[in-house]
């Protein structure tokens, strides 16, 4: 036995030996994954390397290596820009409103779970999932049409609340509610699935025990169901925090118009207009980099807090 151990450790535990062994055993696997690693290096890490143009005056004709290094000039320009606070305010405002709607899918899952009739529950699920399968472009187009001056929603609001009959999305103050309701309409049902599936994972014995202890329906919901959902809620919340600075800009870009930039322009839409419409690559890359760094820091922070408070997080 000792001999064997010695034979293995005798000069064979060295790093070079292990690498050789690993390559000999796994070269097929490495060959297989090579294209995927290439893909990641080019299309995921390439852009990260490309972020260096944020510190340069990038000219497409000169390329990255030929462009002049200018340090933090673009960042300074952005932070002192007239639009900086407007963008920050809009981005945070929209994200904050979306955070308020965070409990909605959880509540929906709880309500669906409490339905007595399985058939009704199934129908309700099928119907509330539908909007997820309609593309964002179509949903936003539909919203724009329905909230136009002659649109169905505008006229309903006109009858109910007597609002003026003009396009809702032409008034700056209306963008936020329209945006939040659009997002809620499209994602509410679908987002509840993950909680519904977590609900099925809760041990039935806990419910029985609570019942024996005399806990009523609401107490069971509060003391058994909610704690059972907590890990899922925490993970979803962290993921949501990470997206604070990346508010669904595709939806914003489809819904907004120049008349209401004041309340609807967010960092990412600004990056798009500056970079790809106006061609200020370096400047908008700097804005984008700011966005990435803050998002990343937020995820890290939330994860750390959740690990401390809850003992569980993303990693």
């Amino acid at each position: 036995m000792n001999k064997v151990v010695k034979a293995v450790t005798d000069g064979r535990g060295t790093i070079t030996y292990r690498i050789k062994l690993d390559l000999k055993r796994n070269w097929q696997l490495y060959l297989m994954i090579l294209p995927i690693i290439m893909y990641y290096l080019i299309f995921k890490y390439g852009p990260m390397f490309g972020l260096s143009i944020a510190f340069m005056d990038y000219k497409p004709a000169r390329g990255i290596l030929g462009s002049h290094f200018v340090g933090f000039k673009h960042f300074e320009n952005f932070f002192t820009n007239y639009y900086f606070f407007r963008l920050l305010k809009n981005t945070l405002k929209i994200s904050f409103c979306l955070l308020i709607t965070f409990p909605c899918p959880i509540i929906l899952a709880l309500l669906l779970n409490e339905l007595k009739s399985a058939a009704f529950s199934k129908v309700a699920q099928t119907i509330t999932y539908i909007p997820h399968f309609i593309s964002t472009v179509v949903v936003c187009g539909l919203v724009i049409t329905l909230t136009s001056s002659s649109g169905g929603i505008t006229s309903i609001l006109h009858i109910l609340f007597g609002i003026e009959k003009k396009s809702l999305l032409n008034t700056a103050g209306n963008f936020l509610p329209v945006y939040v309701f659009t997002e809620l309409w499209q994602t509410l049902g679908w987002n509840s699935i993950i909680y519904l599936s977590a609900l099925t994972g809760i041990d039935q014995q806990l419910y029985d025990a609570a019942k024996v202890d005399g806990a009523g329906r609401f107490q069971r919901m509060l003391h058994v169901t909610l704690p059972g959902l907590t890990p899922t809620i925490v993970i979803m919340f962290i993921l949501k925090i990470g997206k604070i600075f990346n508010v669904g800009y595709e939806r914003v870009m489809l819904l907004y118009n120049p008349a209401i930039y004041e309340t609807s322009d967010v960092i990412n839409t600004y990056v798009y207009r500056m970079g790809l419409i106006s061609g200020k690559y370096s400047y908008s890359a700097a804005v984008g980099l700011f966005n990435c760094v803050v998002s990343f820091a937020l995820v890290m922070l939330t994860n750390k807090i959740s690990n401390k408070v809850n003992g569980s997080g993303l990693w």
């Binding site: 690498i19 690993d22 055993r25 796994n26 696997l29 490495y30 297989m32 994954i33 294209p35 995927i36 893909y39 990641y40 299309f43 852009p47 990260m48 390397f49 490309g50 972020l51 143009i53 309500l111 409490e114 339905l115 009704f120 309700a124 099928t126 119907i127 509330t128 999932y129 539908i130 399968f133 593309s135 472009v137 179509v138 187009g141 539909l142 724009i144 049409t145 329905l146 169905g152 006229s155 309903i156 009858i159 509410l188 699935i193 993950i194 599936s197 024996v212 202890d213 009523g216 329906r217 609401f218 107490q219 993970i235 595709e250 489809l254 890359a285 980099l289 966005n291 990435c292 995820v299």
Partner: protein, 319 residues
């Protein structure tokens, strides 16, 4: 507080042990019927209301698309039944060549994009799920880091352009070929396959490539089905990259054509031959376009719904 409460009630329960079982359930039912009943009714009403909120706009779309344009213009609020009946809007949509080429391009993207994505995801998932592979830790970190930190829109645009994919339909397929989240799901599914199956195949002299396609893939079919749907739907819905990269109108995928018609209100293609009531027609055309563009997905949706739900559940398993 909760603890005190439970001990209290269990004491009561104890003292009431002599009660007959039937009596106990009877009182329980009675207890249910007071507050609980009200909640049940309230619950059903609330959920029915939400279903209405989802369905009414959709019903309106279908009803409006079949409405007579002139009568529709005079109407207020959401429709449940068409106002009059006309298929003019659909005729206009059929005249629009862009929608047809858009459909073709999107189908191409969905078919080839999903195939490529699946091949890469399956291979990577297999490699990453193997144990005793020295570099796997490094690969995993490389992949997962890119989930939380990305270069952003402008550098991505420059990279895709630099690779020479600009204005090519492949720019909508290759740069987004692998989704890390889906890859993690695949890896998780593959690592739960018993190692002994793989080992015994290796003993028989099978290479990894053969093991992957002959043994592993049949075993993780449900996960593959789910991921095919995930990739297909995201390919079908994506428009942003097309807006960045596609210049020629002939290369527009369906969603970009839809954006022109629905968001930018550009219907010159369709109203041109319609004669006098162009303006009246434009809104019903938009509705008809929505129906034409959404119907295929909604038609197959009931049949594939359970796969999607399963997919979300697979994804929920932390991996």
């Amino acid at each position: 507080m909760m603890k005190a409460h439970t001990t209290d009630t269990s004491n009561i329960e104890f003292s009431m042990l002599e009660r007959s079982k039937t009596k106990k359930t009877a009182t329980k039912k009675l207890k249910c019927s007071v507050g609980s009943r009200i909640f049940d009714v309230f619950n059903v009403i609330l959920i029915s209301f939400m279903m209405l909120c989802v369905l009414l706009p959709l019903i309106h779309v279908v009803a409006a698309s079949f409405s007579d344009p002139v009568k529709y213009a005079a109407h207020e609020g959401l429709l449940i039944f068409p106002e009059g009946f006309s298929t003019k809007a659909y005729e206009a949509v059929a005249r629009n060549k862009n929608i047809i080429t858009g459909y073709m391009n999107t189908i191409f993207i969905v078919v080839f994009g999903t195939t490529l994505s699946m091949i890469l995801t399956i291979i990577a998932g297999y490699v990453l799920s193997r144990r005793n592979v020295g570099l796997n830790r490094f690969f995993t970190i490389l992949l997962v880091f890119s989930m939380y930190f990305d270069g952003g829109m402008i550098p991505f645009y420059l990279v895709v352009k630099g690779v020479g994919l600009n204005n090519s339909i492949w720019s909508l397929i290759i740069p987004t070929a692998v989704n890390t989240y889906n890859l993690v799901i695949m890896r998780t599914a593959m690592s739960s396959v018993p190692e002994s199956l793989i080992e015994s195949a290796q003993m028989d002299g099978a290479k990894h490539w053969t093991i992957l396609w002959k043994i592993m893939v049949p075993l993780v079919k449900p996960t593959i089905a789910v991921l095919v749907l995930f990739y297909a739907v995201s390919n079908w819905n994506s428009w942003f990259n097309a807006m960045l990269f596609i210049r020629d109108r002939a290369g527009y995928p369906l969603q970009l054509v839809l954006r022109e018609i629905l968001i930018q209100n550009d219907m010159s293609m369709m109203t041109a031959g319609a004669g006098g009531d162009e303006f009246m027609l434009s809104e019903t055309i938009q509705y008809a376009t929505i129906v034409v563009a959404t119907l295929p997905i909604l038609a197959i949706y009931p049949f594939i719904q359970r796969y999607f739900v399963k997919g979300v559940m697979i994804g929920a398993v932390k991996g």
